[in-house]
């Protein structure tokens, strides 16, 4: 069984179909890229997969559970337990230090553990920046804190919406390297991106247009 399966999923805002009858399967441990022009419904899809929004029609089966039918409270639990989120804007709590931001995620998930949080920061190369506030970090560093935070609870599935959208080449490579590591460890990755270079390193790329899945590309030269 697939880890994630979207069956005839539509999201309708009045006259607009942000998602239009989307069917998609994602296997456990897969690395999927989602591309498409602006307004094509990528973020809408990520919000639905990330249990932050519900589809207007269709089923979204995550780990055998149809999350389209769950209550808001249950969705919060699923999001907390199974999903790691990385955003385009680096959303950090601005009055908490890097390590505290990572610990917030632990706090909602289970138990805050400063040692573990520091290890996660070390993994993204930010051990010496642990006590800095977000305003004292560069954009690339902030995004790496977000990645550390997304990984800290060992989620089954990591969702990244434009993770490199605001980063330069060097930082983009750091983030891609981190994704490679995650993939090797068996984490399922879904990455929304405009950037063909980021899409190229994934196993598979799907393309959205006007809310429809229009293309699917397998990466033949995929290397782990």
């Amino acid at each position: 069984m697939s880890l994630l399966e979207l069956k005839n999923v539509s999201k309708i805002y009045g006259p607009l179909k942000a998602l239009d009858n989307v069917n998609l399967q994602v296997e456990n441990g897969e690395w999927l890229a989602i591309m498409g022009p602006s307004g094509s419904g990528k973020s809408t899809m990520m919000n639905i997969i990330g249990c932050m929004d519900k589809p207007s029609l269709g089923e979204v089966i995550l780990d055998g559970v149809d999350i389209a039918k769950e209550s808001g409270k249950k969705l919060t639990e699923i999001r907390r337990d199974k999903i790691g989120l990385i955003f385009q804007q680096f959303h950090l709590v601005n009055y908490l230090t890097a390590v505290e931001n990572v610990m917030v995620s632990q706090y909602y998930h289970s138990m805050p553990d400063e040692k573990e949080a520091l290890e996660a920061l070390e993994r993204v190369g930010l051990k010496d920046r642990a006590k800095h506030l977000p305003s004292q970090l560069s954009g690339g560093e902030q995004q790496r804190v977000c990645i550390a935070r997304a990984l800290i609870n060992h989620p089954e599935i990591v969702l990244a919406d434009e993770p490199t959208g605001n980063l330069d080449e060097a930082n983009e490579n750091i983030v891609i390297d981190l994704f490679r590591q995650l993939h090797r460890e068996g984490t399922t990755l879904i990455v929304v991106t405009h950037d063909p270079e980021v899409a190229e390193v994934a196993q598979r790329t799907v393309v959205l247009e006007h809310g429809r899945l229009v293309k699917e590309i397998m990466n033949e030269s995929f290397e782990t």
Binding site: S105, Y107, Y108, P112
Partner: protein, 389 residues
């Protein structure tokens, strides 16, 4: 690390690192708590303060004999001791005797001059209070009748025998009299009955009459509320043999009306200040929540339940309330002290109980005013965060 530790770390970081916004809320709470604790202090201190003011209008309680006889010193002391020492402003026993001065019948009154000075602070004396044996204070009316001035000598005569029944008897009987010379040290002006008397010390009266330990009444000045005074009077009359205590109505009643009006005013102001504080805190918290919608969305995206969002904001609010209350209870005392010094010219005691009470009230008030703003925080949609608006 325990969850509570992280919780405290988050809310203190929010308060400490986002100073400016939180300072406004803190200021609102602290000012509210200051006025609150200040006014409560004044509210409870006003009766004492005003009581002391009112005490200048004279005695508000009187002891008399309950059986028509005289009062012994022992009975008086027994009655007096039932009044708390710090409430007893003054105590003056009085003994009245008929005497003659140059064959003219007069009234002599014996009292404790130190006590009388306290129970009757409005007495005006031309000269000085008697301080030595053999000195007398003469009422203005009597001084005029006898043409006495300060520095003059006056001889008081006391008949040891019973009043002669007939003029004949009076002429024939061998007069058994005591005579004593007093020097007039002061003329007493009160505008009342006291101007008819010649005041001497209790010891001198005993010497003059040869009779000790017999008083006619005692005046007391007690700093207490009307109700307390009443219960004092009742219990003294009941418990002390031979003594009947009653209140000087005119004085205690006017005291009471002024007091209750003042207290009602203070109470009203306190309630209004509390309301204003609540509105101010609620508005500030509303702004805080709006300002932090993104953070709320982020926390929710990270798996925070509505409950934990409420607990976190409430935690911040209550911590703020506690700190504000603590600050306020201290500033409130300074405020009350300043008011008291300016209005009543006397200092007030610090009530330790006021600190926990003020902190508790300001925590409650802050909590109450945070309810609505915090509820609105739970409405934030986590999807907003991903959209990155």
């Amino acid at each position: 690390m325990k969850k509570q530790t992280m919780f405290l770390r988050m809310i203190t970081a929010s308060l400490l690192r986002r100073r400016s916004r939180m300072l406004v809320a803190l200021l609102a709470i602290a000012v509210g708590a200051t006025i609150l604790s200040g006014l409560v202090t004044i509210y409870y201190d006003v009766p004492r303060q005003m009581g002391e003011q009112f005490r200048s209008y004279g005695a508000n309680m009187i002891f008399t004999s309950s059986n028509g006889g005289t009062l012994s010193e022992e009975a008086l002391n027994q009655a007096k001791e039932q009044i708390k020492e710090n409430q007893l402003v003054g105590f003056a026993p009085y003994r009245y005797e008929n005497i003659t001065v140059n064959e003219r019948p007069m009234m002599a009154a014996a009292t404790d001059f130190d006590g009388a000075a306290k129970t009757s602070p409005y007495w005006r004396i031309d000269g000085s209070w008697p301080s030595q044996p053999g000195e007398a204070l003469v009422g203005k009316e009597t001084a005029q009748t006898l043409a006495l001035n300060t520095g003059d000598k006056v001889t008081l005569t006391f008949d040891l025998d019973k009043k002669p029944a007939t003029a004949d008897e009076a002429a024939n009987a061998e007069r058994n009299q005591n005579n004593r010379e007093f020097s007039v040290v002061g003329i007493l002006d009160t505008g009342g009955n006291e101007e008819k008397y010649i005041f001497i010390s209790t010891e001198d009266m005993e010497g003059l009459t040869g009779k000790s330990d017999s008083f006619d009444m005692a005046e007391l000045s007690v700093s207490a509320s009307q109700n307390e005074l009443k219960s004092y009077a009742d219990s003294i009359s009941k418990k002390t043999d031979g003594v009947s205590a009653r209140l000087v109505k005119r004085v205690t009643q006017s005291e009471n009306t002024v007091l209750s009006k003042l207290q009602a005013l203070v109470l009203l102001v306190t309630v209004i200040v509390l309301l204003l504080t609540m509105i101010c805190v609620a508005t500030t918290m509303m702004a805080v929540v709006t300002e932090r919608r993104k953070e709320v969305g982020l926390r929710k995206a990270l798996g925070a339940s509505n409950r934990s969002i409420i607990v976190e904001f409430m935690g911040e609010g209550l911590l703020l309330g506690g700190i504000g209350g603590l600050l306020g209870s201290l500033c409130g005392f300074i405020f009350a002290q300043a008011v008291s010094m300016n209005v009543f010219n006397s200092s007030i005691q610090f009530h330790w109980l006021l600190i926990p009470v003020t902190v508790l009230v300001s925590v409650l008030v802050t909590g109450l005013s945070c309810l609505l703003p915090v509820r609105s925080a739970t409405d934030v949609d986590p999807a907003l965060v991903l959209k990155g608006e």
